[in-house]
C-alpha cells in the first residue's frame, strides 16, 4: 500500500510517501490513522488532531469511515488552500 503525505503532514512525517504493508486489522481510513499514530513520534505529531486531517483513496476524497479494501494509494493532507 502506497501512502502519500502533503503540506505540514508531509513535513511532520518527514517524507512525501512510503510503501507500507498494512495488518489485516486496518480496514478503514480511520483505522489506518489510529494505527499510524502508534508507529512513532513523527506520526503521532502529524495525526495529533485527526479532525484537521483529510484523506483521499486512489485520488478521491473520502471520510474516516471509508473502507480501504483494494485501494492502491492513500493520501493524507490538511484542509486544502488552493485557488
Amino acid at each position: 500500500m502506497k501512502l502519500l503525505y502533503f503540506a505540514w503532514i508531509r513535513e511532520r512525517v518527514g517524507k512525501p510517501e512510503e510503501e507500507i504493508e498494512l495488518p489485516a486489522s486496518v480496514a478503514t481510513v480511520g483505522d489506518l490513522i489510529h494505527w499510524l499514530k502508534k508507529r512513532g513520534e513523527e506520526y503521532a505529531h502529524a495525526f495529533d488532531n485527526p479532525k484537521v486531517v483529510r484523506a483521499a483513496l486512489d485520488k478521491v476524497h473520502v471520510g474516516p469511515a471509508a473502507k480501504i479494501a483494494n485501494a492502491r494509494e492513500i493520501a493524507f493532507f490538511p484542509p486544502m488552500t488552493g485557488g
Binding site: F6, R10, A56, K59, P78, T81, G83
Partner: protein
C-alpha cells in the same frame, strides 16, 4: 475545456484570448485571476510556495468543470493553476468561463473558484522575512462552497 497545472508563469492575456474565440456564439467571458498579494497582516510576503497532489488535482478540477457544464450552458472553460514558488504580483490561478450570456458565465466562474479553494488538493505556504507558515483553510471558503450543494449533498 482546458485544465492545466504548471510551474511556469501564467500568461493571462493569452489564456483569455484563447477562450474569447472558443465558441462561435460567445457573448460573455468572465475571468478570475488570483494574484499573490504583496503583504499579509502588514508584513511583506517574499513568496508563496504551492504544493499539489499531482494526478488528483487535475482529476478533481476536471470533475468540477464537468459539473459546471451540466449546470450551466457554457461554451468554454479554461483553468490554469500554478504550483511551485510564486512571487508577489504573479498569478496563482486563472479561471475563465464563456457563455452566450453573462449569468451562466459569472455563476460558473464563482462555482469553480469556490470548489478550487476547498476541494482541489493544493496547499499554500507563505514565506516572509519573519518566517514561513502554511495558510490555514478559511471557514468562509467552506461556506462559499456549500452554497452550491444540491439538496441531497447538503444533508451530508
Amino acid at each position: 475545456m482546458s485544465v492545466r497545472i504548471t510551474e511556469a508563469p501564467i500568461d493571462v492575456a493569452a489564456e483569455t484570448a484563447a477562450l474569447a474565440h472558443a465558441g462561435s456564439n460567445t457573448g460573455a467571458l468572465v475571468t478570475f485571476t488570483g494574484i499573490c498579494r504583496r503583504e499579509e497582516d502588514g508584513v511583506p510576503i517574499a513568496a508563496l510556495v504551492l504544493e499539489h497532489y499531482a494526478g488528483m488535482a487535475e482529476a478533481e478540477i476536471e470533475r468540477h468543470v464537468e459539473e459546471a457544464q451540466k449546470r450551466w450552458p457554457l461554451l468554454g472553460v479554461r483553468i490554469v493553476h500554478r504550483v511551485g514558488r510564486i512571487k508577489p504580483g504573479e498569478t496563482i490561478v486563472f479561471v475563465a468561463t464563456a457563455s452566450a450570456h453573462r449569468e451562466p458565465a459569472f455563476a460558473a466562474a464563482e462555482f469553480l473558484m469556490d470548489y478550487l479553494k476547498t476541494r482541489a488538493p493544493f496547499w499554500k505556504k507563505v514565506e516572509r522575512a519573519d518566517g514561513t507558515h502554511w495558510v490555514a483553510a478559511k471557514k468562509t471558503d467552506d461556506a462559499a462552497a456549500a452554497r452550491w450543494k444540491k439538496p441531497r449533498e447538503a444533508a451530508e
